[in-house]
Structure formats: structure tokens, C-alpha cells
């Protein structure tokens, strides 16, 4: 019987048939994966080629796959919420489940979908755009990925083991404290985000170093392609913002596990300090997501307008300005918390100021298209759709920035509409545009354009139908995070419209999967290395990209070196092929990810023995690395020549 008592802690505090069904589904899927790998004898392949890889391209692809998986997880949450709200007094979900779903939807979409998506593109593109062989610290890069993955998996098992967090993705105290959140759900929140956050911080350091130190000869800072610039600025923000989250999460964890009083309402604790810390990280975080998206749009718009990017230096300076301003606006997330008019006015003004550099960028994209020869490909459609939709999100943002008016909008669906209006056309559209644009570079075939256009229109129409009605119901007073409303409120029809929009978006996302399947079967493999007639350096190497990226180091002439080599006679590759020094694979990052997962899980359930053993294991791994002698390996000239020959001649 004692045995059973031990396992009682893992039970779901608020079960339902749907959760039991998910448990069965998860178990069956896991068994299926293990059986499949064994049957097809793929364990060795998986270990050698993926789990131990330090290659930035493979790590990028793993980020990409994880991000897409999480997009569907978060999307399932979203469609359940919209279905519950589609009609008044609906009984599909009860209040507790609704709380858990909006909490996990937010966390999954921001931390485990958007973040790995931008990391995927940074990993895939940045080393190629600057002519490097890999990132500065390849093994650290692998560790970053496995920490993210451990955090994501930890967070995702919460709804079948012990219960999901239910205090909102912002997890405000005192609600998130032990008094009001009794289940282990909020422990999951604290630990899972902590683990993946450490990974993000490492990526930040890694990417900053890579971009500052590993650029090809001739590439000054002001000759970097725009995506690399945006990645650089985003990583600088990561390095300065994420430590705040790390510390806040540790304080929250000790409050919940060790009865400290940082965020409690007694013994000198201050619950509002959590909100303050959360948004000191949280506001820069939204710029961490949007800046790489802007970078992708810049690349795509200039390629498909057949013009160089308008106002390169103003693009760079506006991003630098955004990186500073992003740290000056956090209070606008809690104008109604009780601070005085002076504080609110200061933060209103800084918030409105941030619209200026963003506006500069919008005009630069418009001027890039002006008199350009525009090709309406799928990536370009997303970029063109982004401009008006994102601008509406920006304008409603300026409305919210007025602190006096914010008392009306705060905590209503108007806010929900606003931030989805910036994140979906801003970040999600950029990720899908980037996915379509860079797909041929990494997988060797193009995604079908026709299906891609259907996806674009489904997502755009679905988006407008799903979120624009929320502006209206929000202004009429529909509060966010409420699991139901009465018929007398009159919110019913507009919420039904939202549900229809959400359903269209869901179909849109399914068409992406179908597109991958269809194109994998039918698309031509004979596409060359530059299928879009693009301009920057990542297109100058072979498709598929060889592991060393460039056989010879490229010589840089401008931010569009590849275009110069195609049109202006610039010689990109000079000299003889030389031996290339590459890093060795390592299983340690993957093992550390597992140890972090076990340690995190043990902390969540206050199982101190495995928790302490896990922590020791982490330090042992780090110590072993310090004493390890690994000088990497060399690829011989002969081998390089053979690879280059196979890929169609030396570049």
C-alpha cells in the first residue's frame, strides 16, 4: 500500500475522459516510436546523426521540427478555447480545464513554439550568411537545444502527470503561490521554463560571439545581411533580459518549494514584484521574437522585389533603438496595478516612442517594394499580408499604450486581439514565410506553391475572422480568461465568428503538413542551389549544404555579396581548397538534457534524493568537459574535392 501512496502524487487532480484519452494516446505514440525505431534499426542512425550532432544545420532542423510540433500542441489548446467560447454557457470545458488550457497555450506558444522557431532560423541561416563553418561554440549550441527540448517535454507531460499549471502564462502571484495553486502545476511552470530559459541564454551568448567573431573576411558590421543583424540584436536582448527571468523563476520556485517569502503577501514579501520582474523580461522577450521575424521579412521582400533593401542603415539603427527602448516600457503591462499617474505617464510615452522605429521599418519595406519587380510567391504573400495586419496590431498597441484609456481595455478581449494581431502576422507569418523560403536550401525540394497559397489565404482570412471580433467584444466588456458568458451579454454571435476563424486557421495549419507530404512525393529535386534568385550569401553554397558550409572562405563585397557575384562580376571564392577543421560530435549535451529533465521533474514533485543526484550529475558533466581533450577533426582536401564534385562542382 505504501507503494501506491507514493504514486498518488502523480495523479491528475482534476481528471476528465479527454485527459485519460490523451494519456493512452501518449503511451501508444511512445510505444510506436520505440517499436518503429527498433524495427527499422534506426537507433544507431538517430544517435550518430541527430542526438549527438553539433552541426548548426541539424540542430536548426531539430528546433524547426520541435517548433512545428509545439505549434500543433498550442493550436489544439487554442481551438478548444474557441470552441468553448463559441456559444454562451457552453459545457465543453469546465472552469479548471479552461484555466489550464489558456495557461499552457500561452507558455507553449511563446516559450516552446516561437522561441525554437527563431532559434531554428538563427541556427540554419546565421553561419551561412556570415560565411562561417559553424557557430562559435558548437557543443554549447547542442546543449542549448537539449535544454530547450528537456524543458518543453517536462512542460508537456504536466497535463497527464500531476496536473497542468493554471495561473495564466504570466503566473502572477499571489495566485501562483501555494495558497491558491495547490497542485504541482505551477512547479512545472517554474522548472520547465527555467531549464529551457538557461538554454536560450546560452544561445544568446553563442550567437553574439559567432556574429562578432566569425564573419568572413571583408564583412564589416554594416555589410552583414539584415537577418544576421536582427539575430544579433535579438541575442543581445536575450543576454540582458533572460537573467531577470532566471532569477524571478528561482525566487518563485523557492517560494513554492522552500517557503521563502519573496512574492507572498506577508512577512515582507511583495506579490507585485513578480509582475514587475516578469515583464522586465517579458517585454524585451516580445522584441526577441519580432526582430528575427523582421529580419526574415527584410530578406524575403528584397529578394522578391528584385531590389536591394531600402534604407539599410536606418533599418540597423531602428533595431538598435528598439533594443534599448524594449527595456524601458515594461510597466505598460500593468498600468492598473496601483502605481501613480507619474509612473504611468512615463511608461505611456516610452511605449508610444517605440512605435517610431517600428514605423521606420514598415516604410523601408514599402520603399523596397516601390518600383520593384514583385513576384507573388508564397513567402512574399506572407510578407505583404504582414504589413497591413501588423500595422493594425501596432495601432491598437498605441491605443493600449495610453494609460488612462488602458483602464478600459485592460484584461479584456481587446488586449487578446491586440497581441495576437502583432504575434500572428508578425511572428507566425514570418516563420511560415521563412519556412517556405528556406525549405529548398535544407531539404532539397520546394514546397508546392499552389497549396502554399491556399494555406496563406486560409490563415489570413481565418486570422481576421478569429481576432477582429475580439476587438469589439473586448470594448463591450468581455473579459479575457473567463471560461463562459451568459446569453444576455450578447457576445455569442461574434464569438461564434471567432470560432469559425479559428477553425479556418486550424485547416490552414493542416494544409502545411499536407504540403510537406505532397511536395516530398511530387516536387522536383533538380532545383539548383539558388531557386529563388536570391541575394545574400546563404544561397552561394550547394544544396544540400555540405557539413563544412563553404569549401573555400567567401570574400565579402557588400551586404548582398552573392548578388554582386551574379551580376557585378565579384569573385566570391578565391584560392585553393584547404583542409577544414571541424568539431567532433558529442553525446554529453543530450545526456545533460536527460539529467536536467530528471532533476527538474524531481524538484517539481519535491523528490529530494533524485533531485540532488541530478544536480550532482550536471556538475559532473561540466567538470568532465573541463578535463576533456577534444581538438576536433580535419576534413582532408581530397574528401572536400570529392564532396564538391558530387554536389556539382566546386563553389
Amino acid at each position: 500500500m505504501e507503494f501506491l501512496e507514493f504514486f498518488e502524487r502523480f495523479a491528475i487532480p482534476h481528471p476528465s475522459p479527454a485527459i485519460y484519452a490523451s494519456m493512452v494516446a501518449i503511451a501508444l505514440t511512445s510505444i510506436g516510436i520505440v517499436a518503429g525505431l527498433t524495427y527499422f534499426k534506426k537507433w544507431g542512425y538517430l544517435w550518430r546523426e541527430w542526438l549527438t550532432t553539433v552541426d548548426h544545420k541539424k540542430i536548426g532542423i531539430m528546433y524547426l521540427v520541435s517548433a512545428l510540433l509545439m505549434l500543433f500542441r498550442g493550436g489544439a489548446d487554442a481551438i478548444m478555447m474557441r470552441a468553448q467560447l463559441a456559444t454562451p454557457d457552453a459545457k465543453l470545458l469546465d472552469a479548471q480545464h479552461y484555466n489550464e488550457i489558456f495557461t499552457t497555450h500561452g507558455v507553449v506558444m511563446i516559450i516552446f513554439m516561437a522561441m525554437p522557431f527563431i532559434f531554428a532560423f538563427m541556427n540554419l541561416i546565421v553561419p551561412l550568411q556570415i560565411g562561417a563553418r559553424d557557430v562559435a561554440f558548437p557543443r554549447l549550441n547542442a546543449l542549448s537545444f537539449w535544454l530547450f527540448f528537456a524543458g518543453a517535454m517536462l512542460f508537456n507531460i504536466s497535463f497527464v502527470v500531476g496536473g497542468s499549471p493554471d495561473a495564466g502564462w504570466t503566473s502572477y502571484f499571489p495566485l501562483a503561490g501555494n495558497d491558491f495553486s495547490e497542485s504541482v502545476g505551477t512547479n512545472y511552470y517554474m522548472l520547465a521554463i527555467q531549464i529551457s530559459g538557461i538554454g536560450s541564454l546560452m544561445t544568446g551568448i553563442n550567437m553574439c560571439t559567432t556574429i562578432l567573431k566569425m564573419r568572413a573576411p571583408g564583412m564589416t558590421l554594416m555589410k552583414m545581411p539584415m537577418f544576421t543583424w536582427s539575430a544579433f540584436i535579438a541575442n543581445v536582448i536575450i543576454v540582458f533580459a533572460f537573467p531577470v527571468l532566471t532569477v524571478a523563476l528561482i525566487m518563485g520556485t523557492t517560494d513554492r518549494l522552500f517557503a521563502t517569502n519573496f512574492f507572498t503577501t506577508e512577512s515582507g514579501g511583495m506579490d507585485m514584484l513578480w509582475a514587475n520582474f516578469f515583464w522586465i523580461w517579458g517585454h524585451p522577450e516580445v522584441y526577441i521574437l519580432i526582430l528575427p521575424a523582421f529580419g526574415l521579412y527584410s530578406e524575403i521582400i528584397s529578394t522578391f522585389s528584385r531590389r536591394n533593401l531600402y534604407g539599410y542603415s536606418s533599418m540597423v539603427w531602428s533595431m538598435i533603438l528598439i533594443s534599448l527602448l524594449s527595456f524601458l516600457v515594461w510597466t505598460h503591462h500593468f498600468f492598473t496595478m496601483g502605481q501613480g499617474a507619474l509612473t504611468n505617464s512615463i511608461f505611456s510615452i516610452t511605449t508610444m516612442a517605440i512605435a517610431v522605429p517600428t514605423g521606420v521599418k514598415i516604410f523601408n519595406w514599402l520603399f523596397t517594394m516601390w518600383k520593384g519587380k514583385i513576384r507573388f510567391t508564397v513567402p512574399m504573400l506572407y510578407s505583404i499580408g504582414f504589413i497591413p495586419l501588423f500595422t493594425i496590431g501596432g495601432v491598437t498597441g498605441v491605443m493600449l499604450a495610453m494609460s488612462a484609456a488602458d483602464y478600459q481595455y485592460h484584461n479584456t478581449m481587446f488586449l487578446v486581439a491586440h497581441f495576437h494581431n502583432t504575434i500572428i502576422p508578425g511572428v507566425v507569418f514570418a516563420m511560415l514565410a521563412g519556412l517556405t523560403y528556406y525549405w529548398p536550401k535544407f531539404f532539397g525540394f520546394m514546397l508546392n506553391e499552389k497549396i502554399g497559397k491556399v494555406t496563406f489565404w486560409l490563415l489570413t482570412v481565418g486570422f481576421v475572422l478569429a481576432f477582429f471580433p475580439m476587438y469589439l467584444t473586448g470594448l463591450d466588456g468581455q473579459a479575457r480568461r473567463m471560461y463562459t458568458y451568459s446569453e444576455a451579454t450578447g457576445f455569442g454571435p461574434l464569438n461564434m465568428l471567432s470560432f469559425i476563424g479559428a477553425a479556418l486557421m486550424a485547416i490552414g495549419f493542416v494544409t502545411i503538413v499536407y504540403n510537406v507530404y505532397y511536395s516530398f512525393k511530387n516536387s522536383s529535386r533538380d532545383i539548383g542551389s539558388d531557386p529563388w534568385d536570391a541575394r545574400s550569401l546563404e544561397w552561394a553554397t550547394h544544396t544540400p549544404v555540405p557539413e563544412y558550409n563553404f569549401a573555400r572562405t567567401p570574400q565579402i563585397s557588400s551586404s548582398e555579396t552573392f548578388w554582386d557575384s551574379k551580376k557585378n562580376g565579384h569573385v566570391l571564392f578565391k584560392g585553393e581548397i584547404e583542409e577544414i577543421h571541424m568539431p567532433n560530435n558529442s553525446g554529453v549535451p543530450f545526456i545533460m538534457g536527460i539529467i536536467f529533465f530528471i532533476a527538474g521533474f524531481s524538484f517539481i514533485f519535491a523528490l529530494w534524493v533524485p533531485a540532488v543526484i541530478g544536480l550532482i550529475g550536471i556538475f559532473v558533466c561540466m567538470a568532465m568537459r573541463s578535463f576533456e581533450k577534444d581538438h576536433g577533426r580535419h576534413i582532408s582536401v581530397k574528401e572536400i574535392k570529392e564532396t564538391e564534385e558530387k554536389l556539382g562542382g566546386a563553389k
Binding site: V236, F240, V244, M270, M272, L273, F327, M337, Q339, T343
Partner: protein, 93 residues
């Protein structure tokens, strides 16, 4: 002889000793809390700056400019965060 004598480091060393002594005075002399804290904060920041410039050789390599830019950026964000938080939660609450 001038090249062999590390004048900068010796002056830095003496200065850091003096700063430590001044900070120690706060404990051994009787002064108000405000004055004491002011002295501690001032000596601490001068000390940190001295260490970075003299003993950690900021500015002596070709990365000097980016190191100072980085420090300046960090100091700016730290000040905004600390004083912004004080403003929100204490001074204007």
C-alpha cells in the same frame, strides 16, 4: 626603465587598497545610515570600474570599443531596471 615599471597597475593597486580602507571606515566610525550607504555605494562602483579597467585590461585589446559599449549598455539597463522598479513599487505607489 619606464617600460619595465607597471606604473598603472601599482597606482591601481594602491587606489584599490585606499578604496577598501575608506569602505571599512563606515564600519568603524559612527555615521548616519544614509552617509554610510552613500560611501559604500560610491567606493564599490569606483572599485569595480578600477578592476575592469586596470586589472581586467578592458580597452587594451582591439575589442576595447565593444567591451566599453557592452558595459555602458549593461549599466544603463541595470540603472533603468533598479530605479524603474523603485519608482513603480515604492516611490509612486
Amino acid at each position: 626603465m619606464k617600460e619595465l615599471f607597471p606604473a598603472k597597475q601599482v597606482v591601481g593597486f594602491v587606489a584599490s587598497l585606499v578604496l577598501t580602507a575608506v569602505a571599512l571606515l563606515v564600519y568603524f566610525t559612527d555615521m548616519t545610515f544614509t552617509v554610510g550607504m552613500t560611501i559604500l555605494l560610491a567606493t564599490a562602483f569606483i572599485q569595480a570600474f578600477l578592476q575592469i579597467v586596470v586589472f581586467m585590461h578592458a580597452g587594451e585589446s582591439k575589442d576595447g570599443k565593444s567591451i566599453y559599449t557592452n558595459i555602458l549598455y549593461a549599466v544603463f539597463i541595470a540603472l533603468v531596471t533598479v530605479f524603474g522598479t523603485l519608482l513603480i513599487l515604492l516611490w509612486d505607489m
